[in-house]
């Protein structure tokens, strides 16, 4: 347990020692800040019209939900870059043998790496959440909905990170890991888009779609189906990573 946290803190600190983490944080913050401001602008423009409508969408619906949806898409593109080096880089720089010949189990290594990378992404989620909180200065927010949005984004990045970690354990080269991760993430994102084209709906594809579960939680409907979907997804990819790392010793 101790070593897990040790590896996690080391990974978290190492990410901040490279310019990558800082760049990602800066770029995302600028773009999402811009999107946030345009949403606020739209809200102030249509505010007068909204008063007339009965049961109109509020500030939270117009500003917060789109912001978190956009953040989801951005993180889909960015997470592969942050996770690609987790195990891959250690293998390429031959530092992996430091972990493998120390008295540490494979699950401890994987979970440590996972938590380390997740730490950075949670910092990102915190920074994104600060934007809607700033609205409290001059308005009121639907707190329940805001927290549902934050929860949805946290679950989303947790799932993204586990997939990225698996690819990083599996791939020989960081870029391969990044592209592979992006592929899998996009696949989970678009898997149920066929449903809108054809009339027939596939329940399996609907269930597998990460976007659908994300949107459901975002809308404030937090139920066990969606939560367990994320938990299962994360657990599956973490287990795959552990097996992948164990196979490292068997290399043919």
């Amino acid at each position: 347990m101790n070593t897990t946290f040790l590896i996690a803190t080391r990974e978290f600190k190492s990410l901040f020692l490279s310019p990558l983490a800082w760049t990602v944080l800066a770029v995302l913050q600028v773009i999402l800040g811009y999107l946030f401001l345009t949403q606020v602008e739209t809200f102030t423009l249509i505010q007068t019209k909204l008063v007339a409508i009965e049961d109109a969408p509020g500030l939270t619906d117009i500003v917060v939900t789109p912001l978190f949806s956009n953040a989801g898409v951005m993180l889909l593109l960015v997470t592969p870059l942050l996770t690609m080096r987790l195990i891959c880089e250690e293998r390429r720089h031959k530092t992996l043998s430091l972990l493998l010949s120390a008295p540490i189990s494979n699950p401890a290594i994987i979970i440590g790496k996972y938590l380390g990378a997740l730490g950075l992404l949670l910092v990102l989620v915190c920074l994104i959440s600060l934007m809607p909180f700033s609205l409290l200065l001059g308005g009121t927010l639907d707190m329940g909905k805001l927290f549902a949005n934050i929860l949805a984004l946290v679950l989303l990045v947790s799932a993204f990170t586990s997939i990225g970690l698996m690819m990083s354990t599996w791939a020989e080269h960081p870029t391969v890991a990044a592209i592979g991760t992006l592929g899998i993430l996009l696949f989970f994102w678009v898997i149920d888009w066929t449903n809108s084209v054809k009339d027939q709906r596939s329940e399996l594809f609907e269930y597998l779609s990460i976007l659908r579960h994300f949107q459901k939680i975002q809308s404030g409907q937090i139920n066990t189906i969606d939560l367990s979907y994320f938990v299962l997804l994360i657990a599956t990819f973490l287990l795959l990573s552990i097996t992948c790392l164990a196979n490292e010793r068997l290399q043919k």
Partner: protein
């Protein structure tokens, strides 16, 4: 008493290629085992298996009495390993890196402090303590690698070519350090520098194409290397039959009519008698030099015999 390292009938295949073939050996406390072999002989593969970085295709490895396969964590607790490329996080300072290594090995904060202090001193790293590893020279990086392997004072230390990239003074220091550590640890040292083995090791084994072809202790080996031999050069061909009847002379190798190698049994020293005989023969003695069989010779003959 259990062996510190016990390797039993180890096999390792890469696809169809057999890298390690039925290897068995053991190392006890106080032994420094020199692991020799030409490139691609299977040295690194064997060491990777012993340190748990690679799974064997068949066979059994135990470290300090613990089966590496069944109880890997206990086995690895008494293991210090320097791979052929030192595993260094270049973005850390030497001190940060060693602290991390100590924590990974499960040392308590207070022991880490003293362990780092003694290790830095032992490896001559005190002056670069606060520098980033990336900015250090190759030799210093290698020493950080060695420091990382001995930091937690493990019973078993495995060093894969530890003196690569070091300057002659550093090599001398590191060899002295290894000899010193060898007193109360079990060490395996892989290298292809033969003088290194002669200087530091108590046991030698040579591996070639995955097979163990030679295993002996160093004092015995040094004796075989000192087998008596004299190289003689004369102006006119000498009478060899007269030389052969001299006491302790074993055989005479004729290289050319005027050049001979005379082999004799140790520890006798028939050089004076040989010289006297040659002078009475009036064949014009030009040169008389003792020939030492070097470890290179043994190495070459052994590896050539097996290929």
């Amino acid at each position: 008493m259990t062996h510190l390292i016990k390797v039993d009938h180890l096999w390792r295949y890469y696809g169809k290629h057999c890298a390690v073939k039925d290897l068995s050996f053991s190392v006890d406390r106080g032994e420094v085992l020199g692991f020799l072999g030409p490139n691609g002989a299977g040295k690194t593969t064997t060491l990777q298996i012993i340190t748990g970085n690679l799974a064997p295709s068949a066979g059994y490895v135990s470290i300090n009495g613990f089966d590496l396969l069944r109880s890997p964590l206990q086995a690895k607790r008494s293991l210090g390993y320097l791979p052929d490329t030192p595993p260094l996080y270049k973005e850390l300072t030497v001190h940060e890196f060693l602290t991390y290594c100590g924590q990974l090995q499960g040392l308590t904060p207070s022991t880490i402090k003293t362990a780092i202090h003694t290790t830095l001193e032992r490896c001559g790293l005190t002056s670069v303590d606060t520098r980033l590893i990336a900015n250090l020279s190759k030799g210093f990086q290698q020493r950080v690698g060695i420091a990382q392997a001995i930091l937690h004072n493990p019973d078993v230390i495995i060093l894969d070519e530890p003196t690569v990239g070091l300057d002659p003074i550093q090599i001398k220091e590191i060899r002295a350090l290894i000899r010193d550590l060898g007193q109360d640890h079990g060490i395996i040292l892989s290298t292809h520098i033969l003088s290194e083995v002669q200087e530091t090791c108590t046991q030698v084994q040579i591996i070639h194409q995955g097979e163990l072809i030679f295993k002996d202790n160093i004092t015995h080996l040094n004796q075989t290397m000192n087998q008596g031999c004299l190289h003689i050069k004369t102006q006119r061909p000498p009478n060899t039959t007269e030389l052969l009847v001299l006491p302790h002379v074993e055989r005479i190798e004729t290289l050319s009519p005027t050049e001979l190698n005379i082999h004799y049994t140790l520890p006798y020293e028939p050089s004076q008698r040989i010289a006297e005989t040659l002078i009475t023969q009036c064949c014009g003695l030009l040169e008389m030099t003792p020939v030492k069989k070097s470890m290179e010779d043994i190495f070459l003959t052994l590896t050539q015999e097996h290929s």
